[in-house]
């Protein structure tokens, strides 16, 4: 994780842009795409200059992690009486001096919004303003990964916007009279489903789409139980699911543990009679780490051959062939 924090002085045009430059350096360090860097710079510079132009002082904080850049710019300043008005292109309260320097076109906030994947602003008159935005470093790949599990029934949407307010990650919006869910922001927490008064949102696989289940064993991942919150005991979720008519409801945890045990048992039992090849690509998937940390660890493993990455494929095949021929 990379985090930078910068203080910004109101009226200090001389140093305006310094915070954005440090954000740029961070982005370049992780090899971000130039187009992404450019979008980030438009948003960061606009947000930074807003503090210089309008506020007494402020701070820019940027965090770079999990493939996204989160920026928060908080200021102590006059605040904004009408947020809707300032996010409209062309509206500006910049001073004559700022305008002379090329600022105050009334495009700052619209520019931040346009160049970010998530944008939020809150303000208290007489106290200050907080602008935050997120830019995804690889929007395409995030779009593809993990679709959300919501089912949307547009006809039922009465545009109460409660889903939009309930969503903790700002993944829901109502556009042209129907709810839309942004895959890359949705965490499947189901808060929007609970908030919708007209049932326009539901889980993609609900009870009415389940096949006859009398003989079926339902397998649930432990991670999926998180959505019910700390107040609901996992046992209760499992028993409610069982009540729907499944023969049994199990957590995948049992199988994962069994698989782990089997791998270890097999390795011990068979090692004397047959060659055992441990591919760490597989074992690390089930949470086992065979990688020796020290030469002593390696000696204790009594292995016939140990290859660390990167392995020349030819050398690997030759060695495996020799071991199998023994």
């Amino acid at each position: 994780m990379n985090a930078v924090s910068f203080s910004i002085q109101g009226g200090d045009y001389e140093h305006g842009g310094a915070a954005s430059r440090s954000v740029k350096e961070q982005l370049k360090k992780v090899g971000a795409d130039p187009a992404v860097v450019r979008r980030a710079m438009v948003a960061a510079y606009e947000a930074e200059m807003n503090v210089v132009i309008h506020a007494q002082r402020g701070a820019l904080r940027a965090t770079l992690q999990s493939g996204q850049l989160d920026v928060e710019v908080v200021d102590e300043g006059p605040g904004i009486p009408d947020i809707e008005q300032v996010t409209r292109p062309g509206f500006s309260t910049a001073s004559a001096m700022a305008r002379e320097l090329g600022f105050g076109a009334g495009l700052g906030l619209p520019n931040i919004k346009k160049n970010s994947d998530r944008f939020a602003i809150e303000s208290a008159v007489g106290r200050g303003t907080r602008v935050s935005f997120t830019i995804l470093l690889k929007p395409q790949s995030l779009y593809g990964a993990g679709r959300h599990s919501l089912r949307i029934v547009p006809a039922r949407c009465k545009q109460s916007l409660r889903c939009v307010r309930a969503c903790p990650t700002q993944a829901v919006r109502v556009f042209r009279g129907r709810p839309e869910v942004l895959d890359y922001l949705c965490i499947d927490c189901t808060a929007c489903i609970g908030a919708c008064p007209t049932g326009a949102l539901a889980m993609a696989g609900t009870t009415d789409s389940l096949p006859p289940a009398e003989d079926a064993v339902l397998v649930v991942t432990a991670e999926s139980l998180v959505q019910f919150g700390a107040g609901v005991h996992p046992e209760r979720v499992l028993s409610e699911l069982a009540a729907l008519g499944f023969r049994d409801v199990r957590l995948t945890t049992d199988w994962e543990a069994a698989l782990r045990a089997a791998v270890v048992e097999y390795a011990f039992a068979e090692a004397t009679s047959r060659p055992v090849i441990i591919a760490t690509a597989v074992t690390s998937q089930v949470g086992l780490d065979f990688r020796p940390r020290t030469p002593a660890d390696l000696a204790a493993m009594h292995v016939d051959a140990y290859f660390d990455k990167p392995i020349p494929p030819k050398q690997l095949l030759e060695k495996i062939g020799a071991l199998l021929a023994r």
């Binding site: 430059r21 438009v42 320097l101 090329g102 076109a105 009334g106």
Partner: protein
């Protein structure tokens, strides 16, 4: 056309050569509104501006704009020159006004496009 050649052909004086003299010019932006500039910025751009200010350089640096052309033969202050040299932004000054400078660059590029088969 390379940035340094553009400077030579329009009669502009190169004040800081930058590291970008050999960059091919693909885009020209003339205007003083920062927000518009941010939106238009590109890494093959020459920025033509009335504003001889360090902000302009800061924006050029942030947005990877390789060259800036000042107009009316403006001589930038020492801070701007130093900043341009530090960041390697090409800084030139045209003896003409904004309108005429742009006109000359336009003619150059139009002629280049016409002569390209």
């Amino acid at each position: 056309m390379r940035l340094d050649e553009v400077a030579r052909r329009i009669g502009a004086q190169v004040l800081a050569p930058g590291k970008a003299v050999s960059i091919e010019l693909e885009q020209v932006y003339a205007g003083d509104r920062m927000s518009d500039l941010l939106n238009a910025a590109g890494d093959h751009m020459l920025l033509v501006s009335n504003l001889a200010s360090t902000h302009l350089l800061r924006v050029a640096e942030l947005m990877d704009i390789p060259g800036i052309c000042l107009v009316h033969g403006q001589v930038p202050d020492a801070a701007m020159l130093r900043a341009a040299t530090e960041h390697g932004t090409l800084l030139m000054a045209s003896p003409f006004g904004l309108f005429e400078t742009c006109g000359r660059i336009y003619q150059l590029l139009a002629a280049e496009i016409r002569s390209t088969p």
